[in-house]
Amino acid sequence: MNHQSSSSARLASIVMGITVALLAGCTETLVGFNAIYPSNTVSVVGGPPHPDTVQFALSRNSYPSSKRTVHPMPQRAILKLNGYLPLLPSEVTQEGDRTIIRMRLPVDLIKTVKAGAMSHTQIHGELILPFDVGVPAFGGGEYREPRSQTVHVQLTPVFNGPMTRTAEKIGGFLRGLYAAR
């Protein structure tokens, strides 16, 4: 009898645990998107995740090195994510020698990710950085030739909540075990 009641109690605790885990899964909130810009030739640095915008920093290294003068045009940068219309900067600010660009992400993308349909999916696309190259003219001065630099973009949704924190703890524990091996 005692044995039966202890096993049913154990079953009930397992069911409750699963229920809590499922409920916790529903409370995961979208923190934003981690953006990386893999390129061997140019440097674009992604900013911290934000719920509805993507932020990145451009520097002199974001454009190809040239003997000619490069005139960047960050206000005309284009972010084209697969499946969505191209985006233009919503805000461009200068911080020292870096240009910070913020672009508002498509509402359809955020809605889909929040609904969980693309929660573990990377979103790919390209970042097009227009610039002018100054060509010296014989009569003095220079005329400008339009060019552009294209960088691949990978966006990964970032969530926060009980499940994510648990997964981080388990991941940290496993990494610790691996390091102590």
Binding site: R76, I78, K80, N82, G83, Y84, L85, P86, L88, P106, V107, D108, H124, G125, E126, I128, P130, F138, E145, P146, R147, S148, T150, H152
Partner: protein
């Protein structure tokens, strides 16, 4: 792209059509850029090339009026939507200018033509080409016979927007 005849570039345009969504509405986004074999295009969408006259001896600048680009599907013509990034005439000076993005209301499934009116502009000859004493035989020379208006057509087979 370079051969013994100093043929530096083919006059061709790379056209890509991709189904996109914006505020619940489906659009067909058309990306047009000067064809460049070194470019790596992201996956997704369908692509075609518009080839113009091929015997140019130098890169010929082109002008495309984005407002005059037309989508033809099932006997119906579609004009660019207000969501298009590109409006009015745009000059393509070289192969590395930013691409043009034109959005159309997504047509029904079937064969679809993107009709692009292209104006090939005269090229400014290089300093060496203008010098009658130049001994360089590898100087890019413009081909004035190519200057003029062309109509390029890129053809795609589209699925239904809801699929």
């Amino acid at each position: 792209m370079t051969d013994a005849d100093n043929q530096l570039a083919k006059l061709s345009l790379f056209v890509k059509a991709e189904r996109v969504i914006d505020r619940g509405q489906h659009y067909l986004l058309v990306k047009i850029q000067v064809a460049d074999m070194r470019r790596v295009e992201p996956s997704g969408g369908r692509a075609d090339t518009i080839s113009l006259e091929r015997n140019g001896l130098a890169f010929m600048p082109m002008q495309i009026d984005c407002d005059r680009i037309t989508l033809r599907n099932n006997g119906k013509a579609y004009r660019p939507e207000a969501r298009s990034l590109c409006t009015g005439p745009v000059k393509l000076d070289n192969a590395r200018v930013p691409p043009l993005f034109v959005a159309f209301k997504h047509p029904p499934a079937g064969s679809t033509d993107i009709v692009v009116p292209v104006t090939v502009l005269p090229v400014r000859p290089s300093i060496a080409a203008r010098d009658p004493d130049s001994r360089s035989h590898r100087v890019p020379r413009p081909a004035p016979e190519l200057v003029g208006e062309y109509t390029g057509v890129a053809r795609f087979y589209l699925d239904d927007a809801s699929r």
